[in-house]
């Protein structure tokens, strides 16, 4: 047997430790300790991030993909650092951890990109005639829907083509545009107006300046030439967004750019502009609030023959303000539809019966003082209209009935209410430019008779109901250019024009009122989606309503009342709080967290406490943490110098405590002894902590719930009883401490619970600190949460800077004079022991404050019977 083999037999595999090989083993131990300390630090930081992630998952409070990515990468970094540190400490004894880590990494990394799986099989461009509703992943929602209406429902829709999402992916892949976008996007704080604005501008500039790859240019122009050949002329086209998910479950109404009336020359540039609009501030915000990862935003672009329309507008197959009325709603204005959908004119409105023959029930003349036209030189021109034109309806009743029939046909095809954009061409034919599902909410029955007053409150305004519901709040005036971040929560937004830009306040607005705007416009769609009651087209809201004035908006009947009308409000439930739960981003965090946060490796004595049993980063950390202590002890065992040996503490504690001295922490009166008494601990911070843990008032060994009077005999007996050893084994678990003259690191892990104290204490005040951490298992357990609350409160009273996140308490005390620091360590020691088995006592009944008081009164058993007379310790 060679020497090497012998050494391996004696010390296990691979014992050629680079560190131990150094001549001065004392220094080697200290160096190991540095690696060990890194490991501890990363363990702490990992636990902190895990707690934060768990809290996000529990509360559903807002976050985006940036959050998911940053936290996942930080968790991976800390876990990996722990593995590297353990490698150093153990001479790479636990190599398998690297494989386990790589496996988890492989599961997480693809989730972080947040992208959808690519459809590489789809060509760069698609003919509108070749696709239908099933093509939404390739052609985007808008194009797929309008193609469905054209090709399957056989309704009139202009010819055109789609630049597919495959083309979008190719554009992004070209010269790493996608990566640059992601990096810039990670710099975003979505709640910060300025940041949102800046990042959006940078992103749009980045995309607008990015070269479209040659083969994509060829494909786009080729598709145009193909279209021109079919038309027999060189048509102008409208270039419109057709993002994935647009016009589906989420409408994204008006969030993206359309470029109208574009010739062949302007096509590629228009394509880029539309793609860039994926990153307008409101589009980014809209995705953030709906929890849609930006990486899943994919933009196809729809190019349709431009209709030189006489009139155009929007129609809803069901009146969204009164879904039960059996009517459909048509709005229209002169020229191109952008005036109506954008909310810049008050369109003509027709209420049409859905019944056979679709008779017109009611018409209301709009204020159509502006007309948008396709200019001969390209682009859109706006024209002020003379009185003679504005006072005429843009459609005849016959035309309205014809259009109504088309709208109902679209609804019949889909089997659910639709919202369509329509245009009337020069030849007097209707075409549909868009069709999307209409969000309607059931409206409660009328609660009161509404002729002028509701419950004594004056009716002050009427308008068109765009989104049903009732709400009350103070009036806040806004215009499109105002900073939306100033908008107060639950205020009533009052604006001259409706605009999709107000999407940024929709999650916070109680209701919306505008002077001008169509119930069929983009903002109306958004209001319905957010469930915000909206009354539009009141003509005079901005002049009638004073800022701060409290009003009640009854959007079910298009009415606005003075003050708070409770009888109206009681009928409509408060809007549910918007949370991330159920969004795609939430689902991704959940998946990522599944491989990071759960702790499945809890028992170091179990045979399955092995690297290959680690399922999560938390498991790896748990394993590495345990083994790191083991390695420190193995190493200290081999150090000949008695001043550095490892010892067991021969004192009565609810756990077995092992200590390593890395310099002047343990007295050398009894060299070679495997166990020492507390008196031998000369490390000042450790001695103070132990004093606390061994405080006689703690009486942790006593059974709980028994009256304490006359119990001393039993207690004394228990002290002498050898059964105490068994008891200790049952509670069992080893705790570790690493000590030096002025330093201690104590750590105790039992099952899911983890407590650690790191302290440094000298006469030099500026470097003194105590850091305390406690993690108490599942965050959803009310009792554990209450225990954390108790620990947090006690530490706060002791002047610690305390941070509590879920079941993690993290507390620090800095720059304290020596004596005061030691006193606090004593109390921390008592706290650790006193709260160990507290779960049972921390039911919902007793307030946390009571426990805090009991602790400071020295009632460490938290016995309700015990009076203050028995108080042992009081706060210093």
């Amino acid at each position: 047997m060679g020497l090497t083999t012998l050494v391996r037999k004696l010390f296990g595999r691979d014992q050629w430790r680079p560190l131990i090989a150094q001549r001065d083993t004392k220094a080697a131990l200290r160096l190991s300790y540095l690696a060990f300390k890194d490991l501890i630090t990363s363990n702490d930081e990992l636990l902190e991030i895990v707690a934060d992630i768990e809290q996000k998952l529990e509360t559903g409070s807002p976050f985006g993909m940036t959050y998911v990515r940053f936290r996942a990468v930080a968790c991976a970094t800390h876990t990996y650092r722990m593995i590297l540190c353990l490698d150093k400490l153990s001479a790479r004894r636990y190599q398998e951890l690297h494989f386990v880590f790589a496996g988890i990494q492989k599961a997480i990394e693809p989730l972080l990109s947040g992208t959808r799986p690519a459809h590489a099989t789809c060509p760069l461009v698609l003919r509108l005639s070749d696709i239908d509703a099933t093509s939404a992943d390739d052609a985007g929602g808008k194009a797929a829907n309008v193609a469905e209406v054209r090709n399957r429902a056989r309704l009139p829709v202009p010819d055109g083509f789609v630049v597919s999402t495959t083309a979008f992916a190719a554009f992004l892949a070209h010269e790493q545009l996608g990566e640059d976008i992601r990096a810039k996007h990670d710099g975003l704080a979505p709640d910060d107006q300025q940041s949102l604005h800046d990042v959006s501008e940078e992103l749009q500039a980045l995309i607008s300046a990015h070269r479209v790859p040659g083969r994509l240019v060829q494909s786009i122009l080729g598709a145009y030439d193909d279209l021109a050949a079919r038309c027999g002329t060189n048509p102008r086209v409208s270039v419109r967004s057709s993002a994935v998910g647009e016009d589906g479950e989420f409408s994204f109404a008006g969030q993206y750019t359309s470029v109208l009336n574009v010739g062949r020359d302007g096509l590629v540039d228009a394509y880029r502009r539309v793609v860039a609009s994926l990153y307008t501030p409101r589009a980014i915000f809209y995705r953030a609030i709906h929890g849609i990862p930006d990486e899943q935003a994919a933009m196809a672009v729809l190019c349709m023959v431009q209709i030189d329309s006489v009139a155009s507008g929007v129609a809803c197959s069901v009146d969204p303000g009164r879904p039960d009325a059996g009517t459909l709603l048509i709005t229209g204005a002169w020229g191109l539809g952008i005036t109506t959908v954008g909310g810049s004119v008050s369109p003509d409105v027709w209420e049409v019966a859905r019944a056979a023959g679709t008779p017109v029930l009611r018409a209301r003349l709009g204020v159509k003082d502006t007309r948008a036209d396709a200019s001969p030189e390209g682009g859109v021109g706006f024209l002020e209209l003379p009185e003679s034109v504005t006072s005429t309806y843009c459609l005849t009743d016959t035309q309205v009935r014809d259009l109504a029939a088309i709208v109902l046909a679209a609804e019949a095809h889909y089997g659910k209410p639709q919202e369509v954009e329509w245009a009337l061409d020069r030849a007097g034919r209707f075409v549909l430019l868009q069709s999307r599902p209409l969000h309607v909410r059931a409206v409660p029955a009328a609660v009161t008779d509404l002729d002028g007053h509701a419950d004594g409150h004056a009716l002050i305004l009427t308008g068109a109901s765009a989104s049903a519901g009732c709400a009350s709040g103070p009036v806040y005036h806004m215009s499109e250019s105002d900073d939306t971040s100033r908008f107060p929560d639950r205020a009533v937004l009052v604006a001259r024009h409706s605009s999709p830009k107000y999407v940024k306040v929709m999650a916070r607005a109680a209701a919306i009122i505008t002077d001008i705007g169509a119930t069929t416009g983009h903002m109306a769609s958004l209001a319905r989606e957010f469930g915000v009651p909206a009354v539009l087209d009141t003509r005079s809201a901005t002049t009638t309503l004073e800022p701060g004035q409290v009003v009640t908006v009854d959007a079910n009947r298009g009415a606005v009342y003075e003050g708070r009308v409770d009888c109206l409000l009681s009928g409509s439930a408060a809007a549910p709080a918007r949370t991330m739960t159920g969004t795609p981003t939430y689902a991704i965090l959940r998946q990522v967290a599944d491989r990071i946060a759960p702790l499945t490796l809890t028992d170091p004595k179990s045979v399955s406490f092995r690297p290959d049993q680690c399922r999560t980063f938390h498991d790896i950390a748990r394993f590495a943490h345990e083994k790191a202590f083991g390695e420190m002890f193995r190493m200290s065992d081999r150090v000949a110098d008695v001043s550095h040996r490892a010892v067991r503490l021969a004192e009565r504690l609810p756990f077995e405590l092992h200590l390593i001295d890395i310099g002047g922490g343990i007295a050398q009166s009894s060299p070679g002894e495997p166990a020492v008494r507390a008196a031998a601990i000369v490390s000042e911070p450790m001695a103070a902590l132990l004093r606390g843990m061994m405080n006689p008032q703690l009486r942790w060994w006593e059974p709980r719930g028994i009256s304490l009077s006359g119990f001393f005999a039993v207690a004394t007996e228990a002290m002498m009883n050898p059964a105490h050893d068994a008891d200790q084994r049952r509670l069992g678990d080893k705790s570790y401490a690493i000590v030096a003259e002025s330093y201690c690191n104590f750590s105790s892990r039992i099952g899911y619970h983890f407590a650690a104290v790191d302290a440094y204490c000298t006469d030099s005040l500026s470097r003194n600190y105590v850091s305390f951490r406690f993690k108490g298992g599942a965050a959803d357990d009310a009792r554990r949460a209450r225990r954390c609350a108790l620990i947090g409160e006690v530490l706060k009273k002791l002047d610690f800077q305390t941070d509590r996140r879920g079941d993690l308490v993290n507390a620090r005390l800095r720059k304290y004079p020596r004596e005061a620091l030691l006193e606090r360590l004593d109390l921390v020691g008592r706290l650790i022991v006193a709260t160990r088995q507290l779960d049972m006592r921390m039911g919902r009944g007793t307030p946390v404050d009571w426990f805090v008081q009991a602790f400071f009164a020295g009632n460490y058993l938290f016995d309700p019977e015990q009076g203050r007379a028995a108080a042992g310790g009081s706060p210093p």
Partner: protein
């Protein structure tokens, strides 16, 4: 206490400038480099304690720079900064001996905490190395 000597390396001049100003105002001694090569030139000529190093730079990238720096000054603590959230890059950086891996953008306070921790580690390592040299 000794002044911490920092080296900032990033090809984004604006970022380097802003961060440098803020760190200087917090009492650090700061030098700047706009490329890996520039950083190496500085590291050859004088000692640093902590280096904040961008991962993605044209020419010599952050990881290459990290390797070269550690050949010259093994004890200098390198904190990698990256705008690209990738576990792979983080792991590779840590494997090559980086002290930490931070994603941009990050708070100044976060950076300061890391710098302080890195410096403390370096100080302790130096103390230990001092120990060895004693007879």
């Amino acid at each position: 206490m000794r002044v911490v000597r920092l080296l900032l390396v990033d090809d984004e001049a604006r970022f380097v400038e802003t961060l440098s100003k803020r760190l200087t105002s917090r009492g650090y001694y700061v030098e700047k480099a706009l490329s890996g090569q520039e950083a190496l030139d500085l590291v050859t000529s004088r000692p640093f304690d902590v280096m904040l190093l961008d991962v993605r730079m044209p020419g010599m990238d952050g990881l290459e720079t990290l390797r070269a720096v550690h050949r010259l000054q093994p004890l200098v603590k390198v904190i990698l900064l990256s705008g690209h959230a990738s576990i792979n890059a983080a792991v590779e950086g840590m494997r090559l001996g980086a002290y930490d891996y931070l994603l941009k953008p990050t708070d100044l306070e976060d950076i300061l905490a890391k710098v302080e921790a890195a410096f403390e580690k370096k100080r302790l390592e130096e103390e230990q190395q001092g120990d060895w040299r004693q007879p």
